[in-house]
């Protein structure tokens, strides 16, 4: 471990003076350094991600590719068709609900669990046991999460049984098959499957908060709530923002979980952008329309990414 040969302690009080540039070569090297650090990542991303994305963008302005032997360019026709499709609007609405509720719940649960697991009030061994339990939802491939919850939420499944025994319900609730409950049910499943990401990342983040900040707050007579809002949250903010951004993008992409539990149904109450796009591509073989729909999602995410980057800039 590199920490073993950590440098001798250094005085950090001194503000770091900027090294005056000594000649052109040095300045050039300084300018190139960040690009060198980014080079391997960029090489991989350009080859394996940017190229296919450009191909998808290309598909989106063609007359049905893949199934059509000689596709012709059609301009923005596909975009118009996708954006004016009423099902697309339903999909956007559902995706927004699903994503916003999921991300908010992931953050709240992840933070609450991380704080409880980090609490000094409970002995380390007990916390270790709970930590193991709390990461469990993380460990399963999405196909299994889907079939497992289909099993649990089956009208004749164990959840209905337990609720029945406890007296909360008196008839079999069709959690996933009832148009009134299906969207909430899959959102719940997604919350279950996704919170450990926040929990583990925040748990790691909590280790990085200098203890003296808490001590200083305590000296000032701040209570637990005050410490939470004025020390913990501000310290975790960079991580929280990164996670929320990522989770937002990921949740809008969530496909397999929805597809394998409800298939976008009943009727279309769980139709999302992802299921809408999938059906265009692999059920109707309209790859150009599917590409157009995907590019719309991409554009929306880029706006999100732009705000994130601007926020970072402002923070610096």
């Amino acid at each position: 471990m590199s920490r073993l040969n950590a440098p001798p302690p250094v005085t950090v009080e001194a503000p770091a003076p900027t090294v005056p540039p000594r000649g052109r070569r040095r300045r050039l090297r300084r300018h190139l350094t960040p690009y060198l650090y980014l080079a391997p990542t960029l090489a991989l991303m350009v080859l394996l991600m940017v190229v296919p994305i450009i191909m998808v963008v290309g598909y989106s302005v063609m007359d049905n590719v893949i199934t059509n032997q000689n596709p012709q360019p059609v301009g923005l026709e596909n975009y118009v068709e996708v954006v004016t499709d009423p099902v697309f609007h339903t999909a956007v609405r559902n995706t927004i609900y699903f994503t916003v509720v999921s991300v908010a719940a992931h953050l709240v649960l992840g933070l609450a669990f991380a704080l409880m697991l980090n609490s000094g009030l409970v002995s380390g061994r007990i916390r270790a046991v709970f930590r193991m339990i709390y990461v469990l939802p993380w460990l399963f491939t999405v196909a299994i999460i889907a079939v497992l919850w289909r099993l649990l939420l089956n009208p004749n499944g164990v959840i209905n049984y337990l609720l029945d025994v406890a007296g909360f319900i008196d008839s079999k609730v069709e959690w996933l098959a009832n148009p009134d409950t299906a969207l909430h049910a899959i959102t719940f499943i997604n919350i279950w499957a996704g919170y450990p990401f926040f929990m583990v990342s925040l748990l790691a983040g909590l280790q990085g908060i200098p203890k003296n900040l808490y001590e200083a707050a305590r000296v000032d007579g701040a209570g637990a709530a005050h410490q939470f809002w004025h020390v913990t949250i501000p310290q975790l903010k960079p991580i929280i923002i990164s996670m929320v951004l990522l989770d937002f993008i990921w949740t809008t992409q969530q496909f397999a979980l929805i597809w394998m539990t409800t298939g976008g149904g009943p009727i279309n109450v769980t139709e999302m952008l992802s299921t809408f796009t999938y059906k265009l591509a692999f059920s109707r073989y309209e790859f150009s329309l599917a590409s157009a729909s995907a590019v719309v999602v991409l554009a929306l995410s880029m706006i999100l990414a732009f705000f994130y980057v601007r926020h970072q800039k402002a923070r610096d």
Binding site: S2, L44, L117, L121, L148, Y161, A224, F228, A256
Partner: protein
């Protein structure tokens, strides 16, 4: 691995959050103790509730994996089955094809994790510590490339992999997953690096060391919890991915566990107990990995050495 604390550094608050130890010497009154006890009971109660939410589905999965297919659907459900049997586990563990799925998943998952971490640390260092003309643009690109629904990427991606000769190979899967994990890892590592004050690495540079040693000797050691959590998550993404694992592999000897599980979902009926058993088997090594690394989440490991 004991961090010899050279300068009486304050160390870090291992308790973190709002419920830190508020017992200071001399103020241990009786009411403080009972209040502390109440708080403790509250936390434990909260932990139990959370554990029920988190763990119940998984417990149910484990219980179902030793039932027969029919009993899994029985109503009222039974916790313990009469025909308790580990047959499903035996079937999987004695099938060389299925064992190969596990092996493949480990090879791919571990390679992706190591490579992603290395590349992400460098990239995050650049994003966190440098200002350069293309920073904004590259950042937007890194974040938003993952925003295209993978399902639409499938066809062009597949063609690309065939062209590059990476179809049905480990590198094909590894590079593919890295493309998916790198943005995440970079964003998170940038976040962790940003929580560390810049003065730390500037100080090293003043000492005459280059930026590389600032990264390697200061930022990386201080971000170990972050690295571990990013590494675990990267591994999970690679371990659990299905769509590309399916399309980018062709033969059974290259396929991964999620496909093995899906192979049990037949056209006419599912092998429920085997599917669930395979998931349980799949999660045990990961749980062990987490157990091994979790000491990094409980503080102490990074406290010390270099500190403000």
């Amino acid at each position: 691995m004991n961090q010899s604390n050279t300068r009486g550094s304050v160390g870090r608050d291992v308790t973190g959050g709002s419920v830190g130890r508020d017992v200071t010497a001399g103020s241990v009154g009786r009411d403080v103790i009972t209040r502390r006890g109440l708080k403790r009971a509250g936390v434990i109660l909260g932990l139990m509730f959370g554990a029920a939410f988190a763990g119940f589905p998984v417990v149910w999965m484990a219980l179902s994996s030793v039932k027969s297919n029919t009993e899994i659907f029985e109503f009222p459900p039974r916790i313990i089955t009469e025909n308790f049997s580990f047959d499903a586990y035996a079937t999987i563990l004695t099938d060389p094809v299925k064992l190969r799925f596990f092996f493949n998943s480990y090879v791919v998952g571990l390679s992706v994790t190591v490579l992603t971490l290395i590349l992400a640390v460098f990239a995050a260092y650049a994003f966190s510590r440098y200002d350069f003309p293309l920073k904004r643009l590259l950042n937007v690109v890194v974040i938003s490339v993952q925003a295209l629904p993978p399902i639409t990427l499938l066809i062009p991606y597949f063609g690309l992999m065939v062209t590059l000769g990476l179809y049905n190979t480990y590198p094909g899967l590894i590079f593919t997953y890295m493309v998916f994990t790198l943005p995440y890892a970079i964003i998170m590592m940038t976040g962790y690096f940003n929580t560390l004050p810049r003065e730390l690495d500037e100080a090293v540079k003043v000492d005459g060391a280059g930026p590389f040693s600032a990264l390697w000797r200061i930022l990386v050691p201080l971000s170990v919890p972050g690295l571990v959590s990013v590494g675990l998550y990267t591994f999970m993404i690679a371990w659990n991915e299905f769509l590309f694992a399916l399309t980018l592999t062709r033969t059974q000897d290259m396929r991964t566990v999620p496909i093995g599980i899906q192979l049990l979902m037949g056209q006419h009926s599912y092998e429920w107990n085997e599917m669930l058993a395979m998931s349980v088997l799949g999660c045990i090594p990961i749980l062990a990995l987490f157990l091994f690394f979790q000491r990094y989440f409980i503080g102490g490991m990074t406290a010390g050495a270099v500190k403000i």
